[in-house]
């Protein structure tokens, strides 16, 4: 089952194992420049507040009720990253607009290899964007659906789905027991044409700037994952106007500017896992146009500012993060 606790999705599958617990949240962050340089990881600056869509059944677009799940508010061109936390291994598939963020393929149930279409938590502690090359992602950036920028629209030519989709499968109890002898010490084997106006669908995610981040190869057997049990969630993304219409409240957060990030002296991060191998990037995702590239093609300015940012301090994080090691910043 998935429960919403504060602004975290908490997955628990006690029918598989009493320790089968994974939390997922969505971190506000700096949108890195979309200038073809490669940036380290920007800090997490707090969670995007989440709400049950069912609590706003009268005001959300009808497809959101059909999809179920939760919603969050983002401004155009705002960025996010997804954080995973837990001790028990899970295989997690993430899609935006039902386009897989690791492979660029359309949504398929189950876990697949060749290419691997999922990541493993907690070995992979976060995902910041689309896996476009080996060791490089393009950051998740919110863009209104119907304008052609989202990965979904670039690949399918349609703006039908939007949002973010997550499904998590736990490791089988026996597989977990065979490799996990001391509780709490398991560190993982790895962590167009517009067909609709898109107005009622809210936001989709689109590829932004380039960031150094590896998506790790899963060294387990595919049969180690329990595909009979799963937890999945549709995360809808409302723009600020839509959020007001739905909830009657102002959007709970404001985007972070590069200037505020620099002024607050928030560091950048690099994450190393020398014992893990990175997946090759997806050819499909590698061919996507970034928001700025596509904006130039369309003679539009979809992003308010895109100046390069000087990186003054990079904190190294290593696999098997200590409790005191966090990828966070504060103003």
């Amino acid at each position: 089952m998935i429960e919403l606790t504060g602004s975290q999705l908490v997955i628990r599958l006690p029918e598989v194992h009493e320790a089968a617990r994974l939390t997922i949240d969505f971190q506000r962050t700096l949108r890195i420049p979309d200038d073809d340089r490669e940036y380290p990881l920007p800090a997490g600056l707090g969670q995007f507040p989440l709400r049950h869509v069912d609590d706003f059944a009268r005001t959300v677009p009808a497809p959101w009720i059909e999809h179920g799940g939760v919603m969050l508010a983002m401004y155009q061109a705002e960025a996010l990253w997804v954080r995973f936390d837990g001790q028990y291994p899970f295989a997690v598939k993430i899609a935006t607009g039902k386009i897989n963020a690791v492979t660029g393929e359309g949504w398929r149930d189950g876990l697949n290899r060749d290419p691997q279409d999922y990541l493993t938590a907690p070995a992979q502690p976060w995902l910041d964007g689309y896996c476009v090359e080996k060791g490089v992602i393009r950051q998740f950036v919110a863009m209104p659906l119907g304008r052609g920028y989202s990965a979904e629209e670039q690949i399918t030519g349609r703006a039908d789905v939007g949002g973010l989709q997550i499904v998590a499968y736990p490791m089988k109890r026996e597989a977990f027991a065979s490799r996990h002898t001391r509780p709490g010490m398991w560190l993982g084997t790895a962590v167009f044409s517009k067909s609709s106006t898109g107005e009622s669908l809210g936001m989709g995610l689109a590829p932004g700037g380039r960031m150094r981040q590896e998506i790790f190869r899963d060294h387990s057997d595919l049969s180690d994952w329990d595909q009979r049990h799963r937890a999945r969630c549709f995360v809808h993304i409302a723009n600020s106007v839509q959020w007001r219409g739905i909830t009657g409240e102002a959007p709970p957060t404001q985007p972070v500017t590069a200037e505020a990030y620099r002024r607050a002296r928030i560091p950048w991060f690099d994450y190393y896992a020398a014992d893990l191998k990175a997946l090759e990037g997806s050819g499909i995702l590698g061919r996507l146009r970034s928001v700025v590239q596509l904006g130039k093609d369309k003679r539009e300015t979809p992003i308010p500012e895109n100046d390069s940012v000087a990186i003054d301090r990079v904190v190294q994080l290593r696999r098997g993060l200590e409790r005191s090691e966090v990828r966070e910043g504060a103003f």
């Binding site: 089952m1 998935i2 429960e3 919403l4 628990r12 059909e66 179920g68 799940g69 999945r232």
Partner: protein
């Protein structure tokens, strides 16, 4: 069940074996109390600290804040607010549920509904 102080000491010491940053001094610094105070708390020589410090301690040690608060004989202020709004209802609910197995309690937790994608 261990009392609050020895439980904290046990959890902190386990972490310290693998990471020196979990010494009394460094944990006390991170949660904003004097090391001598934390040391007394661990020996049950003084009552547990405030809710704010217990929550900070839980976060630092990777423990569940509600569990630590309960061990310290406290209920978090957000839960108190919830109960105060409808005290009779929640008192009855909690008494009814006191002997239910975890699985049954979990069934009452609101699930994020999954629909058709």
């Amino acid at each position: 069940m261990a009392t609050f102080g020895p439980y904290i000491r046990d959890r902190r010491e386990r972490l310290r074996r693998e990471d020196p940053r979990f010494s009394v001094r460094q944990v006390a610094d991170r949660i904003g109390v004097e090391p001598s105070f934390l040391s007394k708390v661990e020996r049950d020589e003084v009552p547990p600290p405030s809710e704010e410090k217990i929550v900070a301690l839980a976060r630092d040690l990777g423990e569940d804040a509600d569990v630590l608060l309960a061990m310290a004989g406290k209920v978090s202020s957000d839960l108190q607010r919830v109960i105060r709004k409808r005290p009779e209802l929640f008192a009855a609910l909690i008494r009814e549920m006191k002997n239910l197995p975890d699985q049954a309690v979990l069934r009452l937790v609101r699930e994020v509904r999954d629909g058709n994608w």
